[in-house]
């Protein structure tokens, strides 16, 4: 289990990461969401020890994380990089060995994963000759070599086509199934919603929301959509109801509570011609826009 406690990082006056605390439990996949410059990459670099925190600490299984722990973490930095001029298999073997694997097991495992993700024919190709999507696959493979205890992946799915996303998320699922915690950042909120067990939203260096997507949805304001055959302008006068949007026969409203919502429905039925009265389940993007506003 990975825990962050009040992790902060300042560049001069600027606080890039401000008192960030969250947990990545064993076997869970946690999505790390936030706009550009929110501090995701800085946080991940601090987790990996590539950058020193100004304050706070990273704990692994309850103890301050050590270099020995981090060597067993799989990491995929935001700024992608493999040696452009080295063949992909040789390179993954090298990285596997730096991870502490033996020559033969590093080679076998790299070859197996490359073949599984459709790069079996390109083992001896130089990295620079691979397509960006294939370089990305190789990069993800590099991060899972050596049976990592923890995966920290910065934007692992950017630039991948949908089938590659499926392949890669299946690979990550195998790791969580073995109890490995996975933290990954993404801009693709629908993907995070689909893949992750829980979500941490970062905005301007601070955690503004966290929990499972159900938790986040539950914390979102209660909203209903009312569609009738006539005009819905009358809802403006309804008690305990705030109108968010009004468009002829359709209204988006935010009742104070369920009781207000029920009163609104009763009124509507009394006026006749109700076509729809539905609870709005916000999408993750809507929640995100709300909290990151």
């Amino acid at each position: 289990m990975l825990e962050l406690h009040g992790l902060s990082r300042s560049y001069g006056e600027h606080r890039a990461v401000d008192e960030v605390s969250f947990t990545v439990p064993d076997g869970r996949m946690v999505g790390f969401v936030g706009g550009n410059g929110a501090g995701k990459t800085t946080t991940m670099r601090m987790i990996m020890g590539v950058l020193a925190p100004t304050a706070g600490e990273v704990r692994w299984d309850g103890e301050p994380v050590t270099r020995a722990d981090r060597v067993r973490f799989g990491y995929m930095p935001e700024e992608r990089g493999l040696y452009p001029k080295q063949p992909v298999l040789a390179q993954l073997t090298y990285l596997g060995r730096l991870h502490g694997m033996t020559q033969s097991s590093a080679r076998e495992r790299s070859e197996e994963l490359l073949t599984r993700f459709g790069l079996g024919e390109r083992l001896t190709s130089k990295v620079e000759t691979l397509s960006l999507g294939n370089q990305q696959r190789a990069q993800i493979i590099a991060s899972v070599l050596g049976d990592p205890k923890m995966l920290v992946l910065d934007e692992p799915f950017s630039g991948l086509d949908p089938s590659a996303v499926d392949q890669m998320s299946a690979l990550l699922r195998e790791h969580t199934a073995n109890g490995t915690p996975v933290l990954f950042s993404s801009h693709q909120l629908d993907l995070v919603d689909r893949l992750c067990d829980s979500i941490v939203v970062l905005h301007a260096g601070r955690v503004v929301a966290q929990g499972t997507s159900e938790d986040l949805r539950a914390s979102a304001p209660l909203r209903y959509r009312l569609v009738t055959t006539g005009d819905t302008g009358w809802v403006r006068g309804a008690a305990g109801v705030q109108v968010i949007d009004l468009d002829g026969p359709s209204a988006l409203v935010q009742p104070e509570d369920e009781a207000s919502a029920e009163r609104l429905l009763t009124d509507a039925v009394a006026r006749g011609g109700v076509r729809e009265f539905s609870r709005i389940r916000p999408t993750l993007s809507e929640i995100y826009r709300e909290v990151a506003a």
């Binding site: 040696y83 080295q86 090298y94 990285l95 033996t102």
Partner: protein
């Protein structure tokens, strides 16, 4: 699980990448070919020992030619001057003008003439002149009632080569060897230094550095890089030295070999320490750049230092030469020259090496500190001064 230290893996990768790099292999092969060419070409173009044909009209001329051949053979026993009999002076002139012979010797004792077509070869001219003057002198001495030996008694200047005793070399050979040593170090330091800087910036530019820095301590990365390239530089040097020694033996310069071996044995540690002293500074220069394009700027101070030291090594003399032979890195250029010239006492190279080692420890500490600080600084190139003041992240 393997127990190999990360730096050995890094070093092995550096070496393996270089050994599979076509440019490096072709470059090395080309160097060796040029080296062999430089040794064998003069012998091939010179066509070996000189051989001349000289037209003669009588016995007396034949005698002079034979005497000239003897003196020529004293210098090079394979050389030859052949007397070609012709009928008379007219026939001799024709033979010279037709190019059948190199020259013709006509006339009589006391009045010899050398006929040639625009100038006789210098060594032939010299040998014949010497023979003519010797026989004239013998005749004159006899006429005066004395001998050549009496006439020339006490006219020799005895040569005593003091350097020859302690196995040192003098003259052009010493200069050539000193030049070769300086040149080899200059190129190795520049080429492999650039290689170190390049491989550092390659990791920065491709951002693989973040993966590496998360996996292994950056000091191990630096160590592997420096040692891998040192092995390559030293290996290439050994190859060049071996080819040169074999080549020299084949082209008959092996007379100088004993002194040469001693000079080379001293040169190797100076090369190694000099190379190591700069290696970490090169790595720092690489880390200061964030793209390959910035390298020229960040490595400029190093290249300048090498050029200056190279020139100093070749042209310094006297006290300044002695002073610089103790200055670290400069000593790699200067001390081997002093050893070749035989004017260094045994403690001098030992002290110079010790000083270079101390300096080496300093540059490794400073260089690796700069390297670690600048390594993850990926936006724009840093100045040396700014990198020094960077806080350690």
């Amino acid at each position: 699980m393997s127990t190999r230290a990360p730096w050995t893996l890094v070093a092995a990768r550096e070496i393996q990448v270089k050994l599979t790099d076509k440019n490096f292999l072709v470059g090395t092969a080309l160097t060796l070919v040029l080296l062999l060419g430089a040794m064998f070409l003069p012998a091939l173009i010179g066509g070996g020992a000189p051989s001349y044909d000289v037209a003669v009209t009588d016995e007396a001329a034949t005698g002079v030619v034979e005497q000239a051949e003897e003196s020529l053979q004293a210098a090079d026993e394979e050389s030859a001057i052949t007397a070609v009999d012709v009928a008379d002076r007219v026939a001799a002139e024709t033979a010279v003008l037709d190019g059948d012979v190199d020259a013709a010797l006509v006339g009589e004792p006391g009045a010899w003439e050398l006929l040639h077509d625009g100038g006789a070869p210098t060594s032939l001219d010299g040998a014949l002149s010497e023979a003519v003057s010797a026989s004239a002198m013998a005749a004159n001495a006899e006429a005066a009632g004395t001998t050549v030996a009496d006439l020339t008694a006490g006219s020799d200047l005895a040569q005593v080569d003091l350097a020859a005793d302690d196995g040192a070399m003098t003259g052009p050979l010493a200069f050539v060897l000193g030049f070769a040593f300086a040149m080899l170090f200059y190129f190795a330091a520049l080429m492999f230094g650039m290689q170190i800087a390049n491989s550092v910036v390659e990791e920065k530019q491709s951002r693989i550095i973040e993966i590496l820095a998360a996996k292994i301590p950056t000091r191990q990365l630096l160590m592997g890089k420096v040692l891998g390239n040192t092995v390559l530089a030293f290996g290439q040097l050994a190859l060049i030295a071996a080819v040169s020694l074999v080549g020299l033996t084949v082209v008959d310069l092996d007379v100088a070999l004993p002194g040469l071996t001693q000079a080379i044995l001293w040169y190797l540690p100076f090369f190694l320490v000099g190379f190591l002293a700069l290696a970490c500074v090169w790595a720092a220069a690489g880390a200061l750049a964030s793209r390959t394009e910035d390298l020229q700027q960040t490595t400029m101070p190093l290249t300048m230092v090498l050029v200056v030291l190279f020139i100093i090594g070749l042209y310094l003399e006297g006290t300044w030469q002695q002073v610089f032979s103790f200055v670290p890195v400069a000593s790699t250029f200067v001390m081997p020259v002093r050893i070749i010239e035989g004017d260094a006492a045994i403690w001098e190279p030992v002290l110079a090496l010790a000083l270079a080692l101390v300096f080496c420890a300093v540059t490794i500490t400073l260089g690796s500190r700069l390297y670690e600080r600048a390594l993850l600084h990926t936006s724009g190139s840093l100045s040396w001064r700014r990198a020094m003041s960077l806080s350690k992240d």
